[in-house]
């Protein structure tokens, strides 16, 4: 038995060797492209290392500077809070839009239209200057009725609250559309099966539909978070001490513009890389059941 299989294997190899060979097609583009890219990359590396304008010593000096680090802390804090406000409000608005109630749906659509339609910069500056429209923020009956609680606008709205409101509401509008898209992507049969089992509408949403919608929600949300991390730099117009503001403060004193912009860019890059890794793990969690699992038989 073994000798027969050995000869049949050898026989098969011999037959394969005599069959016509198919060679891969010649790729001229690669022969031209790789050297070109190599030369371009080498030139960039050379400029980065040799060009005195980069002032790498200055970059090294300011990378761990105290003001820069406090700017980073502020950027992170603002990003986390803005995304939290945006996500929670966004889910609520998406639910309002998909609820079937015409009034809730209209309010949701109006919110999204307005807060996506006006530039973030305008919204930011508006919130910061709220005192000129409403000198006093109060809770009570409108049109001249009694007030239960009031606070002066200038005291209530700091640059941080203005940034949080401006960026947060804008983000909520975008998140509402992302969540709505994710919810719509779940097969309607899932909702029907859940209803048929007797689940209440909110339980159907929370336990059955939302977890499945996360597959479609997480990637664009990751995009939004990473974008927001850098978009917080716009809060420097209302004087918030985040990373760009800290960096601008330094180079407006020392005129070392390029190295300090490199410091900011490198720190943004570090934060984005960490967030990308986190996003990868979140996506992996939400795709359980969609790739092959170990079965316990």
């Amino acid at each position: 038995m073994p000798t027969r299989t050995l000869t049949s294997l050898a026989e098969r190899d011999r037959r394969m060797m005599s069959a016509p060979v198919i060679l891969p097609a010649p790729r001229i583009g690669r022969w031209v492209g790789i050297p070109l890219i190599g030369i371009f990359a080498a030139w960039i590396a050379y400029q980065v290392l040799v060009n005195p304008g980069f002032q790498w010593a200055v970059v090294g000096h300011y990378m761990l500077d105290r003001d820069v680090l406090s700017g980073i802390a502020m950027t992170l804090e603002l990003t986390v809070l803005v995304m939290a406000v945006g996500a929670i409000l966004g889910i609520m608005i998406a639910l309002m839009r998909l609820s079937g109630d015409p009034i809730l749906s209209f309010c949701a659509q109006a919110f999204v239209w307005f807060f996506r339609g006006t530039p973030v910069l305008v919204q930011l500056v508006f919130w910061y200057n709220l005192a000129s429209l409403f000198p006093e923020i109060s809770l009570g009956i409108p049109f001249g009725g009694p007030k239960f609680y009031s606070i002066s606008s200038t005291a209530a709205i700091s640059s941080f609250t203005a940034a949080l409101l401006g960026l947060g509401l804008n983000e909520a509008a975008y998140m509402a559309e992302i969540v709505r898209g994710g919810l719509l992507s779940v097969d309607i049969g899932q909702t029907e099966a859940s209803k048929a089992l007797g689940h209440r509408p909110f339980t159907t949403f929370r336990v059955i539909v939302l977890p499945q919608a996360m597959k479609a929600i997480v990637p664009p949300t990751g995009n939004q978070v990473i974008g927001m991390l850098k978009y917080t730099s716009i809060a420097s117009v209302v004087g918030l001490g985040e990373l760009m503001q800290s960096v601008e403060n330094i180079y407006s004193r020392t005129f070392e513009t390029i190295p300090l912009l490199i410091v900011a860019a490198l720190w943004y890059l570090v934060m984005v890389s960490i967030l990308s890794v986190i996003q990868y793990f979140i996506e992996k969690y939400y795709s359980r059941g969609w790739h092959d699992q170990m079965t316990v038989l």
């Binding site: 097969d187 049969g189 899932q190 029907e192 099966a193 859940s194 209803k195 048929a196 089992l197 007797g198 689940h199 209440r200 509408p201 339980t203 336990v207 059955i208 977890p211 499945q212 939400y286 359980r288 059941g289 969609w290 092959d292 699992q293 079965t295 316990v296 038989l297």
Partner: protein, 265 residues
């Protein structure tokens, strides 16, 4: 099936003069139908006749424009106040749906939950059963449909026939009074149909009231106590399978049966 379930006792399902439109299309035109307790009612008919729509009106997944559906004497999806019926809000209907089990053509298992989680999720959340009790029952139901070893797998890893059997187990976990089947074998490969029909047959033998929308005329003949044939939104014929399927009087029913029996031959 059961001589005791006579006409004096309230039928389990009573569909009274149900009309439904979809846009300009009249899908259901004054349907009257009854299913007595412990019996199996099969709804047959050509595509587009309104069978699935009628079935979905029974557990209020669709709302009727006119007419009322009663399950176990209770009006489904609406509340009576004086002479008028008012539509129930969604959160109240779910309590009614918990008593009615439904099996779908596309199985609709929850892909992000394991098989056993699919089965125990509703009893724990809706009926507030303790987890250990629900798990015991879940495993027993899995064994009953012949899939005891698959408890920790995910739906995506299973064949269509296995998924449908798990869907049946999931519906049974809620201890329903009534089981609805919306074309349970229509999405399955022919060689997987038998295993699902076997589960349905054994379920019928336990005395569960069942309404089955199906294309399998042969199966309906074997298992049904009564057969109703729908064409164009109305019930054309209704009665025991021997009389209806052997000697149909309505010409539309004759045409339908000739076609489907020829296809199945």
């Amino acid at each position: 099936m059961n001589a005791i379930s006579s006409t004096c006792i309230e039928p389990m399902v009573r569909i009274v003069d149900v009309w439904k439109n979809r846009g300009h299309n009249r899908v259901l035109k004054g349907v009257n139908l009854e299913a007595s307790r412990g019996s199996v009612l099969c709804l047959l008919g050509p595509s587009g006749a309104g069978k699935s729509t009628l079935l979905r009106c029974v557990n209020a997944l669709e709302s009727c424009d006119r007419g009322i559906v009663y399950v176990d004497g209770v009006a489904i999806g609406c509340r009576r106040r004086g002479d008028a019926f008012y539509r129930m809000p969604e959160r109240d209907i779910c309590g009614q749906r918990a008593e009615i089990g439904m099996v779908f053509q596309n199985f609709n298992l929850f892909p992000h939950l394991s098989v056993i989680e699919n089965i125990v999720d509703a009893p724990i959340r809706v009926r507030k059963e303790p987890r250990s009790v629900a798990l015991d029952r879940g495993h027993a139901l899995l064994a009953r449909v012949g899939l005891a070893g698959k408890a920790h797998g995910y739906p995506r890893q299973l064949s269509g026939g296995q998924q449908q059997r798990i869907a049946i187990a999931r519906a049974l976990a809620m201890r329903p009074k009534l089981m609805l089947f919306d074309e349970p074998t229509s999405s399955l490969d022919p060689h997987l149909v038998g295993e699902v029909l076997e589960v349905i047959r054994s379920l019928a033998e336990t005395g569960m009231t069942m309404v089955i929308v199906t294309h399998e005329v042969q199966f309906a003949q074997e298992i049904a106590d009564r057969v109703a044939i729908m064409t164009d939104g109305v019930i054309a014929e209704c009665g025991p399978p021997q009389t209806i399927l052997a000697q149909p009087s309505d010409p539309r029913v004759q045409a339908f049966l000739a076609r489907s029996l020829r296809q199945q031959a």
